[in-house]
Symmetry: C2
């Protein structure tokens, strides 16, 4: 009997080898070594202007995780590919907190987009520019290069597309808190991290100036972090290590005046992690002298103070600070907001796509990464069609055998069904038909079917705004584009319940490979697939090897290792450059 | 017979081992390894506030070559040392041209001042601030930290000193050419080099944008360098290598539109070097396609063009450019200018000091490095005193034997005498007394003495504004401070000709250890002591080893080597970070 768990396994085991990642990572990995193929220095780039006009034009906006991962595997022989992004490099953002304190240098985590392009034989055209406006009606994108206006030649240009891939990422979310944009630092771009590094050193230089009172020195050395998510916590840990491993030796006169405060609105920091990790992190931070304020909302930030409301006691307080780093959630970029209005998506945080990453409300536009969310189709919306499609003998009732025929397709089309069964600890999907006494019913009618699946949609989960999701989406979408012709004639997706035939592609399915929370002092916590929780020094080594394996090129891999080694031997540099 | 050459040798051989530098350098050198002594992490810094009040206070302004080299060897047990500099690091400036193109990273050539201080057990106090005003009357210096004004605590403070060491360096010299400050780049500070690197990449990104005409692309890719000295030439060579070894592979569509022009006002580039080197460099640049315009004066610079006058033909021309790097000579910083006025030194380029580096016109102030020039005492000003001091029998005439008694002191006090003898190819200093027919005269009177030495002062040379001079001056001055007490009772300087006794110290004497001119493509030229000229690949390796040996710490030494290696393996990075 082919049971539910078989399907699950079958589906999860295919089509990628991504489960091998953690193992491979220890050997230094070659999964993302696409940038390492031999360099072809011939001028292939200029040839691309003579490209056959029949090729469909794909325009990719953004070179972050989603965009780069899409470009990485795209079969460029079938498409004319153009890329626009204001950053001419791909940044390995999970190491940004390390850059803020000089554990890793900014340059070690970036790889030029053109390098990636060059190594794919130059068939992709890239322009360093910002996308100002997307016009889906005329299939046009308007761009502006962020270059010196005084230079000859216009910075404005427009591009036509046949398919548009929006991978613009998100901007920081201030929740409209007054003063955040003006007075806070962020950990979003490489420049942000560099600015934080200089600011920390500035605060120490300020604090040791003559003629300051002790209170003034204290305020300058009060570092506040808002947001107890993985980034905020990692930054707090990095900052603590930077200060207590390196800076106190150089500024010993003020070493007792330093304070780090972490403000979290929830009841615990790292609340997307397992509770054991939250607790471990809070205990570690407390031991390290990092003040953790949970259940606090930031009302406003000024240049020298931050105003807080303690949720439980409703108490208001104001704290003087030398620097605030804001690290809470993601917001929508203006160009995406503008586009959302055009396609009739308003009052949303991100672009809604279907499960195939197609933007809802317009043709030939795809969105992935932090700027998009997948609007998972509810099983209840299609319940009648599913019932009808499954009831092959048109008896008005569904037997278990009939249900079994559509089960695999249902799980692919509605992944919440899988999650629901797991949450109910059902061994087989057919157990869903058991009555309240636990007896298996031979058949159900539409009403019974509807009742059995009534709570499935409550398990619909939106994906987090992480590099992992974006990278998987990019890889998924390039696979779809690469197999377009083949899948048109041999669709491989689930059944179309409302009519005959199948979807061309399987919908995107996110495979969570786990997440890390480095906590400083060579300790880290990790949540790995299968609810495996790991904490301590060995986890930090796992973190090193996973992050190393995921580097985009051998160049950055070597640089990151040499940075880590340098930090061990010489400590972090405190020069203000 | 103790001859002239003996004195020369004797004098040149003492007191330092600096001649060993080039040899030592090949072994990786430990000459400047003072920053490598074991780290003492105890809080010695805070102890220094309880320092005995009897110690004289030395205030050092600047942490460049002169200031750092002074601090490096100063005996801190005898003085209370304070340091003020707007840069909290020492930068190895000879590698700045390498930083402009990413051959070496900025962070690899800097060492935090506090690191240097820490390793000297923290007895030096350092503040990151700019010196605004020096008041020699009240022995006070007024400073301002360049930190965010919004921070609590004043950025302004003043410091008292007993001895002041001015090592503020120079600023760029625009020769009042209009537009230079607004539209040119410089190679003076680390930030300048970083800005140049980003600008070069920007110009390439601009040149490949759609919708530009070929002429517009060409203008954006026209890089102009003004100044054919060692820095200008090295930058031209670096830029050429960056472009043709790395960037053309990433921007192949515009590779035929790139142009580099080097503008030199003199008739040859590298005109402070041996003629063979000038010629070699010009030929190499021509082969590389770098246009060298000699005998051209820049009249003005605008944001898109540079106006030139060809000196010989008086012809005027205007050239469109994408970027201009200005690298010509050194100018005076405002704070130094203001101080010069206070001590009665006007219409000068730099602070005049005597041969002991004491600023003329005020007490207890020393100046060294690019902000100062030594006003060499003329032999003719003292000719009567010398004659009188030498004429021990008061006969009114000087015998060769009598002259021989003061010869050593004269050479020490007036180094131009040494240069004069060399220029005249005299074997012995006493040959100066030969009459026009070459016969040795037994004795001379004052008139004859004056006539014999009449042209000596024409050999007085001012020192170039180089790192080598600054470093030697810093080391010299710290030796003087360290031996102050001893030399007061046992003066070791030359005779005071106008009265009895001796100078406390020998005057500063510059020992030229040679200079390098890297010309790109793994070729360099070098002028080494003894008129030894070396050119080609082996010289580049000599350059590598010398520059490596001169690094200020093992940290920077390791970083520079790893940068060079990285460049060999992966090329230079073109990410705009």
């Amino acid at each position: 009997m082919r049971g539910f768990s078989y399907f699950i396994k079958h589906f999860h085991g295919s089509p990628s080898s991504s489960k091998l990642l953690i193992l491979l990572s220890i050997s230094g990995g070659g999964l993302v070594a696409y940038a390492d193929s031999p360099v072809d220095s011939r001028s292939n780039y200029s040839k691309s202007t003579n490209v056959e006009p029949k090729k469909k034009r794909i325009l990719v906006l953004g070179t972050g995780w989603a965009g780069t991962s899409f470009l990485k595997d795209l079969d460029i022989s079938s498409y004319d590919v153009q890329v626009v992004s204001p950053r001419n490099y791909f940044a390995f953002t999970p190491l940004l907190p390390s850059v803020t304190c000089g554990t890793v240098e900014a340059r070690s985590i970036v790889e030029p987009v053109r390098n990636i392009i060059k190594k794919r034989n130059g068939e992709i055209k890239y322009w360093e520019a910002e996308c100002l406006k997307i016009d889906p009606a005329s299939k046009k994108v308007f761009c502006k290069a962020n270059l010196d206006e005084a230079l000859v030649g216009s910075n404005y240009f427009s591009l036509n597309y046949d398919y548009l891939v929006i991978a613009l990422g998100a901007r920081v979310n201030t929740f409209n808190t007054p003063g955040v944009l003006e007075f806070c630092h962020f950990i979003k771009e490489v420049e942000d991290a560099q600015k934080i590094r200089i600011t920390v050193i500035d605060r120490f230089e300020k604090a040791v100036l003559p003629d300051l009172t002790e209170e003034e020195r204290r305020i300058n050395l009060h570092f506040v972090i808002v947001g107890g998510g993985p980034t905020g916590c990692e930054f707090a840990a990095e900052l603590h290590d930077f200060i207590y491993e390196d800076l106190v030796k150089l500024y010993p006169s003020v070493k007792d005046l330093i304070k780090i405060t972490l403000i979290q609105s929830g009841d615990h920091i790292l609340n997307t992690f397992d509770e054991r990790i939250s607790t471990f992190a809070e205990q570690k931070f407390r031991r390290d002298g990092i003040e953790v304020l949970t259940g606090c909302r930031v009302l406003s930030v000024t240049e020298s103070s931050i105003n807080i409301k303690h949720k439980s006691t409703k108490e208001l307080s104001s704290v003087s600070h030398g620097m605030v780093v804001w690290s809470t959630g993601v917001g929508t970029r203006p160009v995406v907001m503008d586009f959302m209005e055009k396609v009739g998506q308003t009052d949303r945080r991100a672009l809604a796509t279907d499960e195939w990453l197609r933007v809802k409300g317009c043709e030939d536009v795809y969105a992935l990464g932090d700027c998009a969310t997948i609007d998972q189709r509810k099983i209840m919306e299609d319940i009648s069609s599913i019932f009808k499609a499954a009831d092959v003998d048109n008896s008005g009732t569904l037997t278990i055998e009939e249900f079994r025929q559509v089960m695999e397709d249902m799980i692919i089309r509605y992944p919440q069904l899988d999650l629901y069964c797991k949450s109910k600890h059902l061994l087989e999907l057919t157990d869903i038909f058991k009555d309240s006494k636990g007896n298996v019913r031979a058949e159900v009618d539409l009403k019974g079917f509807r009742r059995a699946l009534a709570h499935v949609d409550s398990q619909t989960k939106s994906l987090p705004a992480t590099a992992q999701v974006a990278a998987q989406q990019g890889a998924y979408l390039s696979r779809c584009f690469n197999r377009w012709d083949r899948c048109k004639s041999n669709p491989e997706g689930p059944l179309l319940f409302d009519k005959s035939g199948r979807h061309e592609f399987r919908p995107f399915l996110y495979k969570h490979l786990g997440q890390f929370a480095p906590l400083g002092g060579e300790q880290a916590a990790a949540e790995l697939p299968g609810d495996w929780v790991s904490m301590g020094r060995s986890t930090q080594w796992l973190w090193y090897s996973v992050y190393l394996s995921k580097q985009v090129s051998w160049r950055t891999r070597v640089l990151v290792v040499s940075d880590w080694t340098r930090r061990y031997v010489f400590g972090r540099d405190s020069s203000r450059v």
